[in-house]
């Protein structure tokens, strides 16, 4: 049987139009959304992060996003990659 474990993981870059997403397993959900669009898309980003976590079955996650002006679909894709990378085999 394969044992899975959650660990810290990252996806994306700090290039323009991209974002760097870091996920760290935690007791509860927390979002730290930084970057140029912090105030302009704060609500939107919060919603998409929560929706993605729910959809992928992760609850306790500390999510940090350093946004360099990425589209919503890019943030979502980077988060999905980070979450998948967070799951490792022991």
């Amino acid at each position: 049987m394969v044992e899975l474990v959650l660990r810290m993981a990252q996806a994306g870059t700090l290039e323009s139009a991209d974002c760097l997403v870091t996920v760290v397993p935690a007791e509860e959900f927390r979002l730290d959304y930084r970057g140029v669009n912090r105030k302009l898309f704060g609500e939107r980003t919060r919603k998409l992060v929560m929706e993605t976590l729910e959809r992928t079955g992760f609850s306790g996650m500390q999510v940090t996003i350093q946004d360099q002006g990425a589209l919503e679909l890019v943030i979502r894709a980077r988060l999905e990659t980070a979450l998948r990378r967070a799951v490792g085999e022991v």
Binding site: V36, N37, F41, G69, E72
Partner: protein
């Protein structure tokens, strides 16, 4: 503060404390066409007895002799751009001498001068009247740190304000890359050469006291070119260096290689070509870089290919335009401000490359400014709205990060004013329902060109016809807005403190076109 709605529906104050009453904006040419006599106020100056030298022993002495007192107004030009050391030097000296509450009224504030914010905080500067504010200065103003309302003016507007006495400059500190002992000054030679000294000319004419600051005292008389003649200069101060030559005269502006900017520029060029405006004798103005400058490259190829000679280039002149003059693609250049090193040589070599002052350039209230003869201007934008209004002052976060410059002047005057911008930047759409800060009114903007389509102002049915005939990628601005929002989303509105006006935007005719509010943390 009491407010009134202007003709564009923007709330603007009826007056600014310590400055006076203001009228609300009524239309791009409303005041000009009213034809009411417009005052010109020459300063009261004492005659200078005959002398052979106006060189003061030090900057400090010159200031003492200038009669400058607390609460007075000082001015500078911004021709030394980000290499300027004169503004910080003078401000520091004034601070050391114990001055307070001065009105700082330069033609603009170079990006590099974050230090101005410190001088505000230390009490040296109480008011700022400028064309632009960026960096720490912009942030400071947007945070509401200044008690007095900042006044933003266009280049033409500042010239008008000076000439009518709305700005009374008590002491003008004019950096002069070449200067003789009696104050004859020029900008196109010397180790700190900056090209045109246009803004200095108007300040020198109307300031109560003029101090030329130079790092290159030449043998009398300065020749062959004099921008500011000796009879307007009171004193001369010699310093080691006016600034960093590498940043004053940066390398010749190159055409961008960014494919997105090139696409925008290409679309703008196609519109110009379809409109038929690129005919012999046409006149042209472009920006310093990016898509705006790249349009010049397309136009240059067009003129060469068709063997057309343009009338004049105007600006804001970069090396690229100087090269076009050299190639005979223009008959002349009118230069109010030189953008790069390549221009300095052109001014010296070519008599058709002429220096102008900002009133000649863009003051709408004189007997004919140059922007009113302009055929084409290509302008940038931070954001635009569906009424074709343009914001070049505040960013997506509501913070001051731009300059009015010649934007509203050239848009009003030019036969064809084209705003070029990417349809979205940093994930945020460029086209909004309503711009945060209205600097250039939509009625003066003929087209907004993006990489995803060309939007023609409904008031230009003729242009729309020509563009349609040429099969250009036309889009309704509301459609393009929606198209972009489909993948960017609609940004949440920035929270502004509507009770606190930190700056007002004066239109070129002296009326108020918009207010800038404090940004909530």
């Amino acid at each position: 503060m009491n407010f009134v709605k202007n003709a564009l529906g923007r709330l603007v104050p009826v007056g600014v404390d310590g400055v006076g009453a203001f009228s609300p904006y009524e239309g791009a040419f409303a005041r000009v066409l009213k034809g009411a006599p417009w005052p010109a106020a020459y300063p009261v100056r004492k005659p200078e007895p005959p002398s052979r030298s106006k060189v003061a022993p030090s900057l400090k002495t010159a200031i003492e002799r200038s009669g400058l007192e607390n609460g007075m107004t000082i001015s500078f030009h911004h021709h030394l751009r980000n290499g300027d050391k004169v503004i910080p030097l003078v401000l520091e000296t004034l601070l050391q001498m114990g001055f307070r509450d001065l009105t700082f009224a330069p033609s603009s504030i170079p990006d590099s001068h974050d230090c101005v914010a410190d001088y505000v905080r230390k009490g040296l500067i109480r008011r700022i009247w400028t064309s632009g504010a960026r960096g720490e200065v912009g942030r400071m103003i947007s945070r509401g740190e200044m008690e007095e309302t900042v006044i933003i003016r266009s280049h033409g507007g500042r010239a008008r304000a000076i000439e009518e006495g709305s700005i009374v400059i008590d002491v003008a500190f004019l950096a002069a890359p070449a200067c003789d002992a009696l104050g004859n000054s020029a900008g196109c030679s010397g180790k700190s050469a900056c090209g045109s000294l246009g803004y200095a000319i108007t300040d020198a004419r109307f300031a109560r006291h003029v101090i030329a600051v130079t790092d290159n005292l030449v043998e009398y008389p300065l020749h062959p070119h004099i921008s500011v003649p000796q009879h307007l200069v009171n004193q001369v101060v010699v310093v080691d260096s006016l600034g960093d030559p590498a940043k004053i005269a940066s390398g010749a502006a190159r055409i961008t290689r960014n494919p997105l900017d090139l696409k925008v520029a290409e679309n703008a060029y196609r519109l110009l070509a379809a409109s038929g405006i690129l005919a012999p004798g046409c006149s042209f103005q472009v920006g310093a870089g990016g898509a705006s400058l790249a349009v010049a490259a397309f136009v240059r190829d067009h003129l060469k290919e068709k063997g057309i000679q343009g009338g004049f280039g105007l600006g804001g002149i970069s090396g690229y335009m100087a090269q076009m003059l050299e190639e005979g693609l223009f008959r002349a250049l009118f230069d109010v401000q030189s953008f790069d090193s390549a221009v300095t040589g052109s001014m010296v070599k070519n008599r058709a490359h002429m220096e102008i002052d900002p009133s000649w350039y863009a003051n709408p209230m004189n007997q004919g400014c140059l922007v009113h003869n302009l055929d084409v201007v290509i302008l940038a934008a931070l954001e635009v709205d569906t009424d074709f209004n343009v914001n070049v002052m505040t960013g997506n976060d509501g913070v001051l990060r731009g300059a009015s410059g010649g934007h509203s002047d050239t848009a009003a005057g030019a036969k064809m004013a084209i705003v070029v911008a990417p349809s979205f930047r940093g994930g945020v759409p460029t086209i909004k329902d309503r711009v945060q800060t209205l600097v250039t009114p939509g009625e003066t903007v003929d087209a907004i060109v993006t990489e995803r389509g060309i939007c023609i102002n409904p008031n230009r049915a003729d242009l729309w016809e020509a563009a349609k005939k040429a099969n250009l990628p036309l889009k309704e601005i509301t459609d393009l807005k929606k198209e972009v929002e489909r993948f960017t989303g609609v940004p949440e509105p920035v929270e502004m403190d509507m009770d606190r006006v930190v700056a007002v935007v004066e239109y070129r005719d002296g009326t108020l076109i918009d207010s800038i509010y404090r940004v909530k943390e």
